[in-house]
């Protein structure tokens, strides 16, 4: 019933096509209520730019001059209210004073909105994030449509709210609830927003006009901040709570890596009771954060993500995915695709792995889809397929069977005659070159690689691997597919380890050499974490699976020889004994309930040295430069994005190449030389550094 689609949003009187404003529309209805619609030109979602704020200022002046009986603020975009600030404005900020002046001008406009002497009401559907939420907070009332989601994602950019949000949010909502939302960046739905008192009412689109009438006339029962808010905003309460928040924040990230949460806590602790002072301090704190390398690197990562989304393109044609092999990767890939609205058949010879894949899928959906019916529907879309019936109808087949050439070729021989014309045959191989896999195929041009990372639901990257005979159209469709399932594609040429595993393997193997040097595993992991990795190399190896590390290590060594650390013999023994890491409960760590037991029993004094960190980290940058030089990936920014989204590489460092550039190529090369002398040829700087600036 798409015919009726444009009748859904209640936007008040129809605005003139050629209004005086570019990104805003202003109308008045029969009751004298002004409807201010955010409708930013040329985009599908609203963001706040300096231009738009300036236009808003003009609208406010118009409203002050000719005061309406009430003001409705809402978005004319179907996608939602306002998705936040236009991040473009944050790029390359270096001057604290300039940022503070800029944010000060925006503050003045938002303050002016708040000071309007008429009942103002924000009607919110869809996403209402960051700056968007700060606009809504400056209104007297907020009406949420059922599908609304609220949140402050500034932390992802190394910032905290900067348009008065830290002040208005903690005043309206109990700070014990409000602060964690700003610190974690979690979004909440309309019901939760209502229970927090962030919105006054939750309703459906079809009742917006009547809800607005009641709001403007004062008949709407409003959410009021509780008495507790005042108590919690008292100085001594703030001091106590701030201490607890700091220790919570410390569990998530170190202050030297991520200063924003700590700055936010300071801000609230110092000024929480004093509105004016806190607004001013917010501006200053926001400006200080904006110029930190953390914020600038995270802003860079934000744009890397946008850039990689563009690589995906649009126009996905894949509706039915057939996954072969219900092991850890196959099962999780299938579950992810079904969770993203695709029909999925999951084939395996045995019911046991399928059953455990279904169990993991149900657990995942419980977390990401929440709604009971949404979980049910996703599970319905994920069909166990022991007879491999899905092959005939699938638009895309993803093979995820064990890493054995003959086995994979046998699978292909079985399915190729049944595949429908135009279908893509993809392999999730991480170690077998496509050039070897394609030899037995009737139509090698439809073979490509879709290399997902473990855990599929958390690592956004998918390497889209082509060989020299891959059909260009199918490659394009594969990229669009990756975009459609909300993952980020890295187009990469088929070469051992592609990009990510080739960069990551030296990191993990070096850590194993350190184990041989009798360095404690927790100290090795601590070294990586000190650099900013979310997980140390030892824990990561267990997470990935020691068998896979061994396979990939052997494969890479066979190609690159001594450029890689040698694989220790005990690793082979461990794998032979079935101690494979997380999936078997024992690897280098003992795993319980999906968590590694990292208690070391060592005194806290064994600090990792800078040399240890360099030994682990620099080979990654070295491999990335090599991949660029070899043309495996054609763009340095995309390399950084891929390593961040595929491995969790410390995002606030901006990526392994950006890190090298920031630290200085000279310095990197000389450090690598020094390591070569001390530890061996595997640290030899790649020839690519010559041309990398």
């Amino acid at each position: 019933m798409n015919v009726l689609g444009d009748r859904v949003l209640e936007l008040g009187p129809k605005p003139d096509a050629d209004g005086p404003y570019k990104d805003l529309r202003l109308t008045r209805d029969g009751d004298g209520v002004a409807w201010l619609l955010f409708d930013r030109e040329g985009t599908s979602a609203n963001t706040l730019s300096a231009d738009l704020i300036e236009e808003l200022d003009k609208v406010l002046a118009e409203l002050e001059a000719q005061r309406p009986t009430g003001l409705v603020i809402r978005s004319a975009k179907k996608t939602g209210f306002i998705a936040g600030a236009d991040v473009n404005a944050f790029r390359a900020a270096t001057d604290v004073a300039a940022v503070e002046a800029e944010i000060g001008r925006a503050h003045a406009v938002i303050d002016r909105l708040e000071a309007l002497r008429i009942p103002s009401v924000a009607v919110v559907h869809g996403f209402c994030l960051g700056g968007g939420l700060e606009v809504a907070l400056a209104c007297l009332m907020r009406i949420a449509i059922e599908d609304a989601r609220f949140g402050f994602p500034e932390g992802m950019l190394g910032l905290h709210p900067g348009l008065g949000g830290t002040v208005r949010f903690t005043q309206l909502v109990n700070p014990m609830q409000a602060m964690p939302l700003m610190l974690t960046g979690k979004t909440i739905d309309a019901r939760r927003a209502k229970s927090l008192g962030l919105v006054d009412v939750v309703t459906q689109e079809r009742h917006v006009r009547n809800a607005v009438k009641d709001a403007v006339s004062g008949r709407l029962k409003r959410a009021r901040p509780g008495l507790l808010n005042n108590l919690l905003s008292l100085g001594f309460a703030r001091g106590f709570l701030a201490g607890r928040m700091r220790s919570e924040a410390a569990k998530a990230a170190r202050e030297e890596h991520y200063p924003a949460p700590y700055a936010l806590i300071d801000l609230w602790e110092k000024h929480g009771g004093d509105r004016r002072a806190m607004l001013n301090a917010e501006k200053a704190s926001f400006a200080r954060l904006m110029v930190t390398s953390t914020a600038q690197n995270l802003i860079r990562v934000f744009f890397l993500r946008e850039q990689m989304k563009k690589l995906a393109g649009s126009g996905n044609k894949i509706e039915h995915v057939h996954v072969i092999g219900a092991g850890a990767m196959g099962g999780d890939i299938a579950a992810w695709c079904a969770g993203q609205d695709l029909r999925v058949t999951l084939a395996d010879m045995k019911p046991e792995p399928i059953a455990s894949a279904i169990k993991r899928a149900a657990e995942l959906y419980g977390k990401i889809l929440r709604k009971r019916t949404a979980v049910r529907d996703a599970l319905d879309r994920l069909m166990p397929d022991m007879q491999a019936e899905g092959v005939r109808n699938a638009d895309l087949i993803i093979e995820a069977v064990p890493e054995k050439l003959e086995l994979k070729q046998k699978v292909y021989a079985g399915i190729e005659p049944k595949m429908k014309p135009g279908a893509i045959l993809a392999t999730n191989t991480s170690s077998i070159p496509l050039q070897d896999l394609r030899t037995t195929l009737q139509k090698p041009e439809r073979l490509l690689g879709l290399h997902f990372f473990n855990p599929v639901s958390r690592l956004q990257l998918v390497e889209v691997v082509s060989h020299d005979g891959t059909d260009a159209q199918l490659l394009k469709e594969a990229l669009a597919f990756v975009g459609a399932i909300d993952r980020l594609p890295l187009p990469v040429k088929s070469s051992p380890g592609f990009l990510v595993n080739r960069a990551l393997t030296p990191y993990m193997l070096e850590a194993m050499l350190m184990l041989d040097e009798k360095i404690d595993k927790t100290v090795i992991d601590a070294a990586a974490k000190k650099f900013g990795m979310p997980m140390g190399p030892i824990e990561l190896a267990d997470q990935v699976g020691l068998d896979i590390c061994l396979d990939v290590g052997d494969m890479l060594r066979s190609k690159f020889g001594d450029a890689l650390p040698p694989t220790p013999a005990w690793l082979r023994d461990k794998v032979a004994r079935g101690e494979l890491g997380r999936k078997t409960g024992k690897g280098l760590y003992t795993w319980k309930g999906g968590k590694a037991d990292t208690s070391s029993g060592l005194p806290a004094t064994s600090e990792p040295s800078a040399e240890m960190i360099d030994r682990l980290i620099l080979p990654m940058s070295n491999v990335c430069v090599a991949c660029l030089r070899e043309g495996i990936v054609d763009n340095a920014d995309v390399v950084d994005g891929a390593v961040i989204f595929g491995t969790g590489y410390a995002p606030f460092r901006g990526g392994p190449l950006h890190y090298a550039r920031t630290r200085g190529v000279e310095n990197i090369v000389s450090t690598l030389r020094a390591l070569t002398e001390k530890f061996g040829g595997r640290f030899t700087p790649d020839a690519g550094w010559e041309s990398f600036k």
């Binding site: 029909r343 058949t345 019911p351 046991e352 399928i354 059953a355 455990s356 279904i358 169990k359 899928a361 149900a362 049910r376 529907d377 599970l379 319905d380 879309r381 069909m383 166990p384 397929d385 022991m386 007879q387 019936e389 899905g390 109808n393």
Partner: protein
């Protein structure tokens, strides 16, 4: 112009014995579990069906009109017309019969007809007096009235009744289904030993069919979200013998009754689908028909002897098609109770009954038990009431294909005093 109607494919879940508490699947969950692979293996899109008809007796509150819920969950498209039919134990066959008639009359070409039942999900029901008390309390205005209403409570109001127990009791005669089997057994002199021997044979036949892999193409493994999977009918007890069954106490009429838990059908969850197609649909999609539905018949009788329903409806089919008992090479007669199945066979062999009730010239004769329920039945598989009628048609087709027989009848007795029968011919 009656058009031919074909059964082209079908599948079912394993039948899962109700153990303690609700099973892993609701009726629609079960319908989806076996429907997905069935639809996936067809050469046409799920949206190509004209309609979906599903039999279900104990519809759960979250799944009103389970046929439509199942159709949508199976991805058959929002335009798919779907309705649920209910005639107690015949519901799963009634769905086929309804679809058969739509296609025969030329109104539809492709119909998905099924049956689904999760008896383990049957609700607990509050006594009527308790419900009235609660309604009074909820409706009372003012504190005084509310206190007065609350004070009228009695402990018995909170004693739940198992809904299933009421469902299995005939509302007219107040006889439990098991008691109707006792009546039939009495009228035709069926002994406890005969019943137990029949029940043991049912388990033996199912166990053999399972071990021979004869059910492989019929039963789809069901996967639950807790990581468990179910790949076979789990009520089977291959070690049952007439001797072991003889030790059980009667459950419905103690101490002298002949019907025990061992020689009755089991309380079970399950779902089953068949795909019905016209000649046009067969040609259009390049389908391979397995069998044709030749005729069907519903009959009714005294609810107190409902177990004889198959004798009435199947005989009517035979008469209309000028066939005799012996012309039917394979039979599925739903095993509600061993005593009732044997009662039916005895009735056909009873001259007086055949003359007076069935209007035959004499006794219809002996029904060869090697042709009857060749791979076991509800005693070993279980009897998810709204599903069983569908399963016996599906299995009849599969069994005839395997045995190479041509004509078969699937028939069942129906609580409330009815019988249903369907005449099938393999193609």
């Amino acid at each position: 112009m009656a058009r031919p109607v074909f059964i082209v494919d079908g599948s079912r879940t394993p039948f899962l014995k109700a153990r303690s508490g609700p099973g892993p699947f609701t009726p629609v969950d079960l319908a989806v579990q076996c429907g997905r692979p069935l639809l996936a293996r067809q050469p046409f899109a799920p949206s190509a069906f004209d309609q979906v008809i599903l039999g279900c007796v104990n519809v759960i509150a979250d799944e009103m009109n389970p046929a439509r819920v199942a159709a949508l969950r199976l991805g058959m498209g929002e335009k798919m017309v779907a309705f649920t039919v209910q005639i107690n134990c015949g519901s799963g066959m009634q769905s086929i019969d309804t679809g058969y008639r739509y296609i025969r009359e030329g109104l539809s070409d492709l119909i998905l007809a099924g049956g689904a039942e999760a008896l383990s999900h049957a609700p607990l029901v509050w006594p009527q007096q308790g419900v009235r008390w609660f309604a009074g309390l909820a409706g009372a205005k003012g504190i005084g009235a509310r206190v007065m209403a609350a004070l009228k409570v009695k402990p018995s109001y909170f004693k739940p009744i198992i809904g299933l127990e009421r469902g299995l009791t005939d509302p007219i005669t107040e006889l439990n289904m098991g008691q109707t089997a006792e009546v039939v057994g009495h009228l035709f002199g069926i002994t406890r030993a005969q019943s137990d021997a029949y029940a043991a044979e049912s388990h033996k036949r199912l166990a053999k069919a399972q071990s021979q892999g004869w059910l492989k193409d019929e039963v789809e493994t069901a996967f639950a979200r807790d990581g468990k999977f179910y790949d076979h009918d789990d009520g089977v007890r291959p070690d049952s013998t007439p001797e072991s069954l003889a030790k059980l106490k009667p459950v419905f009429e103690r101490p002298w009754g002949k019907v025990t838990a061992g020689n009755s059908s089991q309380i079970t969850d399950g779902a089953s689908w068949v795909i019905l197609a016209s000649e046009e649909a067969v040609a259009k999609h390049g389908l391979t028909p397995k069998a044709a539905i030749l005729d069907s018949q519903w009959s009714a009788l005294d609810p107190g002897i409902m177990g004889l329903g198959p004798v009435l409806s199947a005989t009517e089919l035979l008469k209309r098609n000028e066939l005799t008992l012996g012309d039917i090479e394979t039979w599925e007669l739903n095993e509600a109770f061993a005593t009732q199945v044997l009662g039916c066979l005895a009735a056909w062999n009873d001259e007086k009954f055949c003359k007076e009730i069935l209007g035959l010239d004499g006794a219809a004769g002996e029904l060869d038990q090697t042709r009857l329920n060749v791979d076991g039945g509800a005693i070993s598989l279980g009897h998810p009431v709204g599903c069983s009628g569908n399963r016996i048609v599906l299995h009849l087709v599969n069994a005839m294909k395997r045995l190479g027989t041509r004509r078969g009848i699937a028939t069942e007795c129906i609580g409330g005093g009815q019988g249903g029968a369907m005449l099938i011919e393999t193609v």
